[in-house]
């Protein structure tokens, strides 16, 4: 996740030096866990709703 955070920050133009890198990475890891859990649900395809 550290590698991803560094790459994403460079792409969007944010300096992680101006933030707490460890906290940002921890939040991204938490969000990744949430995303994986949500992906375990049979989500509707476009148009299903």
């Amino acid at each position: 996740m550290q590698t991803y955070a560094d790459a994403a920050a460079a792409i969007v133009g944010i300096s992680l030096e101006a933030a707490d890198r460890a906290v940002v990475v921890a939040i991204l890891e938490r969000l990744a866990g949430y995303a994986a859990d949500i992906a375990s649900v049979d989500l509707p395809r476009d148009g299903d709703a």
Binding site: A8, I14, S15, I27, V41
Partner: protein
């Protein structure tokens, strides 16, 4: 209060003087207000009194002093939204639509209130403006992010205040400060002139010390007739939310729900199987949309953010789009669960928070033997409901010598009147209520 003004038993100016005196006496201890607009308030009160003297009706909120969270535009005041980044912005040129509606009904704006930076928090511990203390114990949090508004009402400085609720920012401080608050149906009240946080979830609404005052204020804000506050409870199908909403809470929160259930003779329980995922989705959508909103400032002025806000915004701005899109698609799944619940029941009950007000600065709390972070979990029971966009009234459960908690009365879209009536019933029954204004030592 408004009735007394309209009947000439008092004046708007006298009520304003009482409010300004109370602010002078209590706000140094609570830090609820970030700006007091006494001059404007005097002019507004004078117009109300002049209308009455001339035989005109100033409206259903004649002379009622109120406060607004400092994310509502107030002409002549900078809309800071709790941020240092906005401090040098020009003052607002116009009032937000809800300010206009309240003053159009005779209410008198007295000032703007403290909040978590950009509304991203549940504790109103603001690095720039300081923390807002809870009127029941100023060493404790007022909740957030509309904590200044809630504390202003709970302490008796004003009888009415405006807040915003994206993930629980009205429901949480209402509960922790022991007052009534309503998160309306998503889209029911206009956001014009309110600083945005999360477009998918933002709502705005009032706090008050009684259900009747809340109902009157809501009717003014929505432009609807005041709801009848005498529901036929025999017709209401009410269930207590089980599962996710019954775990991970302390006794004070659990017993509050049980008191309400006992008063309403509620035996049914209902489980929303995806409630935890709804919280995950709300958290994800919040981070992504808020991060994107503040991306330009994060690039060049990151050091000016509150640290408590900054790193979550940065993470949100870096999030892969796929996570956000999946969270949005999940809403269809949760909406179906909510629709099924409201096919069976008219009202669902849930705790507003898992515990009473934590101490300011408190990092962790032990629940069921597990040490848990305080800040991210204050809104654990409000955040899932956010995803569905349905209305919720928080009713306060108070008792002398204890800290308040709150119970969420949750209904289907458009059921605000029914929820307000149920809140009024619980207040009449002596189960819910703000109780006496706490005495600040």
């Amino acid at each position: 209060m408004a009735a007394a003004v309209r009947a000439k038993r008092t004046t708007a100016d006298a009520l304003l003087t009482e409010a300004l005196d109370a602010i002078a006496a209590h706000d140094p201890r609570l830090n609820a207000f970030t700006a007091v607009s006494a001059e404007r308030a005097r002019a507004t009160a004078r117009r109300v009194d002049e209308a009455i003297a001339a035989g005109r009706d100033p409206g259903p909120l004649a002379g009622v002093p109120f406060a607004a969270k400092n994310l509502f535009d107030v002409r002549g005041i900078v809309t800071r939204a709790g941020a240092k980044l906005t401090a040098q912005d020009p003052p607002a040129e116009h009032d937000a639509e809800l300010i206009r509606r309240l003053e159009g009904a005779g209410a008198v704006l007295v000032g703007v209130t403290n909040m978590d930076e950009f509304a991203y928090g549940f504790v109103t511990e603001n690095a720039h403006d300081g923390s807002t203390g809870n009127p029941h114990d100023p060493a404790r949090s007022a909740g957030g992010s509309s904590g200044g508004s809630a504390a202003a009402v709970a302490s008796g400085m004003v009888p009415l205040a405006l807040g915003s609720d994206t993930n629980g920012s009205i429901r949480v401080p209402a509960a922790l400060c022991g007052i009534f608050g309503i998160r309306p149906t998503f889209g029911a009240l206009p956001l014009a002139g309110a600083y945005p946080f999360v477009t998918s979830f933002d709502t705005v609404g009032p706090f008050a010390r009684t259900a009747a005052d809340l109902a009157r204020a809501y009717a003014v804000l929505a432009g609807t007739p005041e709801p009848a506050l005498d529901p036929d409870l025999a017709e209401l199908r009410i269930a207590r939310l089980d599962g996710f909403f019954a775990d991970g809470l302390l006794d004070e929160a659990r017993s509050s729900v049980e008191r309400v259930c006992a008063a309403l003779n509620v035996r049914a329980r209902h489980t929303l199987p995806n409630a935890l995922r709804a919280r995950y989705a709300a958290f994800t959508i919040t981070a992504a949309e808020a991060g994107d909103r503040h991306l330009a400032a994060l690039r060049v002025r990151a050091s000016e953010f509150d640290i408590a806000t900054r790193d979550r915004l940065v993470a949100g701005a870096l999030m892969p789009a796929q996570w956000y899109v999946r969270a949005q698609r999940f809403r269809t799944v949760f909406d179906a669960e909510i629709r099924a619940a409201f096919a069976a029941y008219d009202v669902l009950l849930a705790p507003a928070t898992a515990y009473a007000a934590p101490l300011l600065g408190q990092r962790t709390i032990v629940i069921d033997g597990v040490e848990t972070d305080v800040r991210p979990n204050v809104g654990v029971f409000t955040q899932p409901i956010t995803l569905a966009g349905v209305p919720v009234v928080t009713v306060p459960i108070t008792a002398p010598g204890t800290l308040p908690t709150g119970v969420q009365l949750i209904g289907p879209a458009g059921s605000e009147g029914r929820l307000l009536a149920l809140a009024a019933y619980l207040e009449r029954a002596g189960v819910a209520g703000a109780g006496a204004v706490p005495v600040l030592a």
